[in-house]
């Protein structure tokens, strides 16, 4: 499990830090980025095993990220979306574009870990 790499895209640094800590503690290698541009740069270098992304991000939203990964990179990497509660429209768009899973804020780190594990097991 330790060799799995997770790209965590979250603009809230505190939450990103918390989730990173939790995922690292679970044995994953976590690359934490804070905006969409960093995500693109990171994806240009290497495609991770799974992407965990917030929908609302500066420069490059989670929806655009999914579209970029699926249509331009032609990658089937699992993508888990983090979204605020009540943002149903974006979530549906994300699923239509190819997101694999969705988790609502406030996030339970334990729940996120379970979902990440499950998606990685599918690969």
């Amino acid at each position: 499990m330790s060799d799995k790499q997770i790209l965590l895209a979250e603009d809230d640094e505190l939450l990103a830090s918390l989730l990173t800590y939790r995922l690292k503690k679970a044995g994953y290698e976590v690359i934490s980025v804070f905006d969409g541009q960093e995500v693109k740069n990171q994806l240009a270098q290497k495609i991770p095993d799974i992407i965990v992304s917030d929908i609302m991000m500066p420069y490059f939203s989670g929806i655009e990220l999914i579209e970029y990964v699926r249509n331009e990179l032609r990658s089937g990497v699992p993508i888990i979306i983090i979204s605020s509660a009540g943002n149903e429209e974006n979530v549906l768009s994300a699923f239509e574009l190819g997101a694999n899973d969705f988790i609502a804020k406030p996030v339970s780190p334990s729940e996120l870990l379970v979902r990440v594990n499950r998606e990685l097991l599918k690969v």
Binding site: D12, E13, L14, L15, S17, L18, Y21, R22, K25, K105, P106, V107, S108, P109, S110, E111
Partner: protein, 780 residues
């Protein structure tokens, strides 16, 4: 003229030193302000940067505390202990405590589950809530509010006692914050709040409080009825809403009492509460409190009565519907009445009753009805709608319709009832002609709206013509040649012919004819018995314009009458059907329909008219040859419209004479027909010239005047013919005859004006010609 001294107009002395001083002061203050803003901004930025850096530094530490597990390995436990020592050193600094509090406060919004509980525990474990308590002691309202919010969000239940005293704080922000905190921190907080709240509770605040209560997992709501007696009307209102939300229907009596409350908002809420619980006992109280309520409350009350009211409330509702000043209330009362007693009040305003034409049109839309009539060999359908169905144009049938595979006949019944009930006899008579017009002169291409317009136009035109005919001295027959000549398509014509054949096959004309003859014979016998003195006179009134009478004069009287009746039917058939069918012995499809369309009253009139003919011994026999000829002429000439008709209506005699010359040059068959009507012109010269032109035009067009026609024209009009119908009877006939029989009037030429002209014409021509009475087949 006033004079001014220059000394008084001199400018005041400017103290430049003072101006320079003021300028320098202003510039100094501006500079100071900008420096101050710069310093403050830098300080805040540095602080924010410092906090951000500190957050980055402390965030992993916080994460370590949050995700620490007792089952962790020893190495991790050692790290945890080191971190604990480290953080204890850190929280000695106010700034670090502040940053830690901020981190935890922000994180609690983004995390849930076990992590959040750990976070609350960490917050209290680090003693950060003491700082929040300190904030509550502040004099600044925003600090107090911040402290209350922090303690509430971090679920510090110990703060409940400290916070609840702010429920009635003079500042609204603190008050509202304290109210939410009180309700949030402990389950009994709502009771304390409702007990002690003195101030107004806004709608938004009530919603927020309700949201807090709703999100409690283990909340046991108190019996809110105890706050229905509160002195604070907002507490009563909120209690009512809570009662409704938690379905606490054990307080119905208290809620019913609140219908009498002076506050309209409480009354409305109470009524809505009772409506939701369906408390029927509240009906009398509602009705009693109705009059002194405002419109909003009244509507709520009517809504409640509509929900659980009974039939004995209808009188009250009717009274409200009639007497209340407010339109909305009246409308709501009507709605309540209709809810309690459906269709008690029927719509009356702006309701347009369908005319017989509309109903006929609706019946036309059912093509299967036409088939049903054709299938049943009933020669004289008694019901009016059957006649209308019979008269439907074939082109109203949809193409995909398969006869006999449509709706059952029972479905026709409601329409029959509708038709019979909706139409009075007067309406039937009034619309009788229009129905026939629509049926005989249908325009298949018209859409629904155009159809309506067409109906209206036809009716208006028809009325105008009737009025004109009454005013004119010349022949009073109705010139229907303004109507468009409808050319049926060959396919449709073939279908009509086929249908007619079917109807002819299915009909039993011989039996009907015999029956009719019997009836007429009995009428004639009665007449002869009652009025023997008129008999010779009647004999003299045999019209000589019908040639076959001359041929059959030898026959006995009875056979004359029988034959005339038979021929009269044939004539009727020819006129109405447009002579499309050859067998004159059998009533044709359309004429049958017209006969069927009459109600009993019209039939009675027709009988009187037939009786009149019999009285005058009018023989309408036509030879078969002439019959065919008449049919041909009918087919060719009907309807005929000449452009000269309009001109001759208004022009003077000189102009008419000039126009007659033009008619000879450009005239056609229709002008030839039109010239016949000029025999009634006032001016003798016009009459004479018209006769001449007509003959010349006939030669030009190659119209052969057959022997019978010549005979008729050559035969002088007898005095008996002039006395064909007396004045009184003529006017009576005009009144009595249905419009469709106006064709007959024209054919029989039973107008006195025409008769008055005949001697003059006879005298002029010297040939004893009768002039140009409209002959059979020469329709107008």
């Amino acid at each position: 003229m006033p004079t001014y001294h220059w000394s008084l107009l001199s400018l005041p002395e400017i103290q430049t030193d003072l101006l320079w001083f003021l300028t320098m002061v202003s510039c100094g203050l501006g500079l100071l302000y900008f420096v101050f803003v710069f310093i403050i901004r830098n300080k805040l930025s540095r602080k924010a940067q410092k906090v951000a850096e500190k957050k980055k530094e402390l965030a992993p530490l916080v994460s370590q505390f949050l995700f620490f597990e007792q089952t962790a390995p020893v190495e991790e436990k050692k790290d945890y202990l080191h971190s604990k020592v480290e953080i204890r050193e850190l929280i000695k600094s106010d700034f670090n405590r502040l940053v830690l509090a901020e981190i935890l406060f922000d994180l609690q919004k983004d995390v849930s589950g076990e992590t959040r509980e750990n976070l609350y525990a960490l917050y209290k474990g680090l003693g950060l809530h003491h700082d929040a308590f300190e904030k509550l002691r502040s004099r600044r309202w925003e600090v107090i509010s911040q402290g209350i919010l922090e303690l509430t969000q971090m679920r510090v239940e110990e703060s409940y006692m400290f916070i609840r005293r702010f429920i009635n704080h003079r500042r609204g922000v603190i008050r509202q914050q304290a109210q939410i905190a009180t309700v949030t921190l402990k389950n009994e907080g709502i009771a304390y709040f409702l007990d002690t709240c003195k101030h107004r509770i806004s709608e938004w605040q009530q919603l927020k409080l309700l949201d807090v209560l709703r999100n409690f997992d283990d909340f046991v709501p108190p019996r809110f009825k105890i706050w229905l007696t509160s002195k604070n009307k907002d507490v009563v209102l909120f209690a009512l809403r809570l009662i409704r939300y938690y379905n606490q229907n054990d307080a119905n009596r208290a809620v019913i009492q609140l219908i009498k409350h002076r506050n309209n908002q409480i009354k409305t809420e109470a009524v809505q509460c009772l409506k939701e619980f369906g408390v029927m006992e509240a009906r009398d109280t509602i009705k009693a409190a109705f009059r002194k309520s405002n419109a909003g409350v009244k509507i709520a009350m009517l809504d409640a009565l509509a929900e659980f009211g009974a039939c004995d409330d209808l009188a009250f509702l009717m009274k409200v519907e009639h007497s209340d000043d407010n339109f909305t209330v009246r409308s709501k009362a009507m709605s309540a009445i209709n809810t309690l007693a459906p269709e008690k009040i029927m719509p009356t305003d702006d309701i347009r009753e369908p005319s017989s034409a509309d109903i006929a049109f609706a019946l036309v839309a059912k093509p299967e009805d036409i088939e049903s009539v054709e299938i049943h060999p009933d020669p004289i359908p008694e019901s009016k709608e059957a006649v209308i169905q019979d008269n439907q144009p074939e082109n109203t049938k949809p193409d995909n319709l398969i006869p006999g595979e449509n709706e059952p006949e029972e479905e026709l019944q409601p329409e029959v009832v509708l038709l019979e009930e909706s139409e009075s006899k007067e309406e039937q008579q009034q619309d009788h002609a229009s129905i026939i017009m629509e049926e005989d002169f249908e325009v298949p291409e018209l859409k629904d709206e155009n159809q309506v317009l067409f109906d209206l136009c036809v009716k208006e035109e028809f009325n105008d013509i009737i009025d004109e005919a009454k005013q004119e001295e010349v022949p009073q027959y109705l010139p229907l040649n303004f109507l468009p000549l409808v050319e049926t398509e060959p396919e449709m014509e073939a279908m009509e012919m086929e249908n007619t054949k079917n109807s002819i096959t299915n009909a039993k004309p011989v039996e009907e004819e015999e029956k009719f003859e019997q009836d007429l014979n009995s009428i004639i016998n009665k007449l002869e018995m009652n009025d023997e003195s008129n008999k010779p006179k009647i004999r003299e009134q045999v019209p000589d314009f019908i040639p076959l009478v001359v041929e059959n004069q030898e026959e006995n009287e009875k056979s004359d009458v029988d034959t005339s009746i038979r021929e009269m039917e044939v004539t009727t058939e020819i006129v109405f059907s447009g002579a499309q069918h050859g067998d004159g012995a059998v009533p044709d499809h359309n004429s049958q329909a017209v006969v069927d369309l009459r109600d009993t009253e019209v039939i009675a009139e027709e009988v009187s008219w037939q009786q009149l003919l019999v009285e005058n011994d009018i023989d309408l026999q036509i030879s078969p040859d002439e019959e065919i000829e008449i049919e041909d002429v009918q087919q060719d000439d009907f309807p005929v419209f000449s452009i000269f008709r309009e001109m001759f209506r208004d022009f003077d005699s000189e102009s008419k004479l000039i126009l007659l010359d033009e008619i000879l040059v450009v005239g056609e068959h229709k002008e030839w027909c039109f010239l016949a009507t000029l025999s009634n012109d006032k001016d003798k010269r016009v009459r004479k010239k018209a006769l001449k032109i007509r003959h010349e035009l006939a030669d030009k067009l190659g119209i052969k005047l057959d022997s019978t026609t010549i005979t008729k024209e050559s035969e002088p009009k007898t005095a008996t013919h002039n006395k064909l119908v007396t004045d009184s009877r003529a006017s009576e006939m005009e009144k009595k005859l249905p419009l469709e029989y106006c064709f007959f009037e024209g054919q029989l030429a039973i107008y006195e004006d025409q008769r008055a002209l005949e001697p003059a014409l006879n005298q002029q021509n010297g040939s004893g010609k009768t002039g140009d009475l409209p002959l059979q087949g020469e329709s107008y």
